[in-house]
């Protein structure tokens, strides 16, 4: 871990500014609602959100800066994990749950692997992974009767 030089919570202020925009967007959206029952609550909440965000930005500017701690971390693997999850979700209707889930499992296994791939690991890890995916698939699809997608690619 390394301590960065003292700095203001710029990230927190940026997030608060983004939330101000979210609040404004929500207020703008409520203009279209026909019924007062629909807009009174979101308008109050959006208004409160904007007030708290502005207060947070002002508070950050007024108080002394903090020291921020950051550790050595891999951004690429993080992004990779998110992409794999999204691709697995979006490919489910086409490839089917089993195939997209299995592919996602193997891809995430590669992303989470920091040790060298020994001969034993190359065989054992994918085998155990396949068993886990098949086990959960069986539990949800056959025991709990969840209709997991079979995939248009195979069902036509």
């Amino acid at each position: 871990m390394r301590a960065d030089p003292a700095s203001r919570d710029i990230g927190g202020m940026v997030v608060a500014a983004v939330f101000v925009l979210v609040g404004v967007l929500a207020l703008w959206d409520t203009l279209d609602y026909a019924d007062a029952d629909s807009y009174v609550f979101p308008r109050t909440v959006a208004g409160s959100l904007i007030v708290f965000c502005i207060a947070s930005i002002v508070w950050n500017l007024a108080r002394p800066p903090d020291r921020v701690q950051r550790g050595p971390e891999s951004t690429m693997r993080r992004v990779g994990l998110v992409i794999v999850l999204l691709v697995a979700a979006l490919s489910m209707p086409y490839l089917g749950f089993l195939l997209s889930g299995l592919a996602a499992f193997m891809a995430i296994m590669l992303l989470a692997m920091y040790d060298p791939w020994t001969r034993a690991r190359v065989f054992v890890y994918p085998l155990v992974g396949t068993a886990i995916v098949l086990g959960f698939y069986f539990l949800f699809n056959k025991v709990l009767l969840v209709p997991l997608p079979a995939g248009r690619l195979f069902t036509g």
Binding site: V82, M113, Y125, L148
Partner: protein, 502 residues
Amino acid sequence: MNSLGYLLAALTPYHVALALGGVVAGTVVGSLPGLTATMAVAVLIPVTFSMEPASALILMGAIYTGAIYGGAYAAILLNTPGTPSAIATTFDGFPMAKRGDGDLAITLACIASVCGGLVGAVFLLSLAPPLANVALAFGPVEYFWLAILGLTLISALSQGNLLKGLIGACFGLLLSCIGVAEISADVRLTFGSQTLLGGIEVVSALIGLYCVPVLIDLVATPDRHLKVEEASRGFRLREALNISWRSKFNLARSSVIGTLVGILPGAGGSIAGLVAYSEARRSSKQQERFGGGAPEGVQATESANNATVGGGFIPTLVLGIPGTPPDAVILGALLIQGVRTGPNLFTEHGSIVYVFIWGLLLATVLMLPTGLLIGRYAYRSIVTVPKAMLVPTVAFMTLIGTYSIRNSVSDVVIMTILGVLGWVLGRFGFSASPIVLGLILGSIAEQGFVQGWIIGAAADNLWGQFFGRPISLGIFAFILLSLFSPLLLNRLRVKREFARAD
């Protein structure tokens, strides 16, 4: 059905098996460093959807209580809390392990967890029904104020930055408005997206906000190659029982602290453990032993964090306001099953709630043998599960669990996006818990607010509608207290430090 009938219903072989399986599963997940009790409940919850509500609650309660205890293993043997609620367990647990008393510390933690869990469950059994009777007097406006109280409390407690907590709570409330409005059927905050028409499904949002950020962080750092060096000398149960008996007041006090902290919305096992630890240290005649391997430190933390399980269920079941983050997940699961928690639950669905409470007591008792056996024989293999197997398994469970809630791919996409959002916000000090609570309490808050607003506007007395009833005023006073007490306490502390410096 009377109390004996509920107890017998909880003792059916099916429920005993669920309680046992839940405790084992929870203990295993909780013992893995990086995976929280909330995550344990969230990833295992889809299994309960096909069950009866009472059985589902027993399984979820058992997973929760097991996961809280499981966090102690890694805290004691590796100086790494398995769950955040075991943070204070590391203070004395690890020094005990270093001097060769790790096995004793684990047995002490197990006994303390069982004591705390039992005290919490007994409080739940004895306090919840009379509180439910009181809550029957609450009207929609009181429920609105209660929801706001929950949100302000969690904002104040979650990460120390009140304004960020309040921003998160408002964001969660806005998320709860997405979709078709319940009363007027207006389409709200979808911005033309068909995917958002159905609204944000609560449990998939919870899985995203609580599980995906953990996975993102787990995948970003190398495995720590955890190794348990110490050779075990057995359970040392007699020795642990003697020590526990000698510090029975510490156990009782910490359990009560844990129960009370659990009742506060959003304040979970980590806060309870730290408060009980500091109280045990303050009241000890040998304060210098704390931090260097004092068994009382382990006992205080572990009894308090397990007592939050029963304590947290009190507002969850009585008011529909989750006491701890895992309670929020359990509440979401109950909503899917069509069970609306609140005071009427005790009168209309007594068979669900009382069977569950007895089931929770049963699961807590079962934690003693299972906890000791897992600690003795299985812990080494659990803790050495390689990250390359752990991360994809949990990720796959989030995918299949989220999909199975509504058989919807959109929910999986929303879960992932919310998870990424939760991770980004977490990096800048915005905790997930206020967002989650806002999302869960959104419908209660909106119904109460809109009804109060309509009646107040019709009677031309909005102020009187929201502030005119004693219960509303009482809850509002608590809201002000929760908002301003951190500031006042901070000012007092600064003044005291100045006085000491002078």
